[in-house]
Subunit: 234 residues, 2 copies
DNA sequence: GTCTATAGCATGATAGAC
DNA sequence: GTCTATCATGCTATAGAC
């Protein structure tokens, strides 16, 4: 059971290096560097810079020269890790999917009641997107420009996330503990609400709202609609 | 009082030609065409194509050659309407702001109670973004790449929209007809929920949900959280 | 007012020295 | 493994014919 961001972060312990090591092993054919330690270290800087610059100007507007300057690469060195610019997107995208689905399924699986599954899923999603905000932002913004197979994959993952929410809501309705609402629409709404946390994070920072507060607020809204605390939502 | 999309659409009656005529008059210095009828007709095609292509690939990825081919312009002809590619963004952006704020203030002003103001505001925003979906999508996606003054303007308008919601919620709380919730956070959440209608419209189309259904659903969620219909949200 | 032709430049990608 | 130098391409923007 998740209660706040700090404990979630410790439990998950996703270091950049570990993620990039997995990434390196997944993409061994396209990466021409033999030494794993060297490659992993460079991948960390490469992906950091790509996410940062893309967040500022968009992927198309980021030139590979900008990227090299920011990451401390030469243009030739960069091409030891990718075959072309598109490969950067594929590299970044593939990994986040695994983590997202794995995390959501872990935390909904842990819980016993539909109510706890739902609150766990919301918390897990908000907290994960807090840790990996640049990735979530990138993924949202750049999906439309992906080549067809990657685009299909991205849409499928988003659908899968919504399905997780949908199924939990249906379970609760059938068990008689939730109001009889439109589960499909509420699942989409959950996604939309969680999405804003990584799309407009600076706005919430300005309001002085942190990830735990935001997640609890969303949970309050959803609970009141489902009739779980019908009297007085905080 | 708004009840459904069709009546809203008739009342608003925003034709493309009228919008582009206003646009032409606003940007007379940069547009080098004297004949208003000719200019307005071309602006309609120009903006239509820009919104369409940008929606597919993003603004940066859209070349002016693509745009000319799509809109039936020559590259030279295009430059009679803009001084550079950025001007296209400014041209498109400025107008939508006026319409959005004007519409929201009109419909909240019409209503008497905070509850009606709130439902009117949600309906007006969802319906307006239904009519001008490509514009809302464009505005969301391209704001980050705008030059500083336009970016400030875009953020200010978004803030103003949230303020309208915030103020109505506070009114309701002070009048004792709404639960005592975090008004700032709920206003942001309203924006996030309405936002998904133009960001992910095709998803909702797949679910068979139309604008009226979506707006009523959002209203139901917000009402239940505010304790207006505490018993049984539809 | 609209077109074609082209200048001038920045980009993605490669070749080959070290 | 990493660098510099360079190629070919496609872009925005302009000049000048019609």
């Amino acid at each position: 059971m998740i209660t706040d961001f700090e404990s979630f972060k410790q439990e998950l312990s996703l270091s950049k290096v570990e993620i990039c090591r997995e990434l390196y092993r997944q993409n061994r054919e396209t990466i021409r560097i033999k030494n794993e330690e060297v490659a992993v270290g460079n991948l960390v800087r490469l992906i950091d810079s790509t996410l940062r610059l893309t967040g500022l100007k968009g992927f198309e507007a980021m030139s590979l020269r900008d990227l090299c300057a920011d990451a401390g690469f030469s243009i030739g060195g960069l091409y030891a890790y990718i075959r072309n610019k598109q490969d950067l997107v594929i590299l970044i995208q593939g990994h986040g999917f695994l983590i997202t689905l794995r995390t959501l399924l872990t935390y909904t699986g842990q819980a016993t009641s539909p109510h706890k599954k739902l609150t766990n899923a919301i918390m897990a999603h908000v907290f994960l997107s807090e840790i990996m905000q640049p990735w979530f932002y990138f993924s949202f913004m750049e999906t439309k420009s992906l080549p067809a197979p990657q685009k299909r994959q991205a849409i499928a993952v988003e659908q899968k996330v919504e399905d997780i929410f949908h199924d939990v809501i249906v379970q609760g309705i059938e068990a008689g503990v939730f109001n009889d609402v439109n589960a499909r629409l509420l699942a989409s709404l959950c996604k939309a609400m969680m999405q804003d946390w990584y799309l407009k994070r600076s706005k919430y920072a300005r309001q002085g709202v942190d990830a735990t507060q935001y997640a609890r607020f969303l949970i309050g809204v959803v609970e009141s609609y489902l009739g779980i605390y019908p009297a007085n939502p905080q």
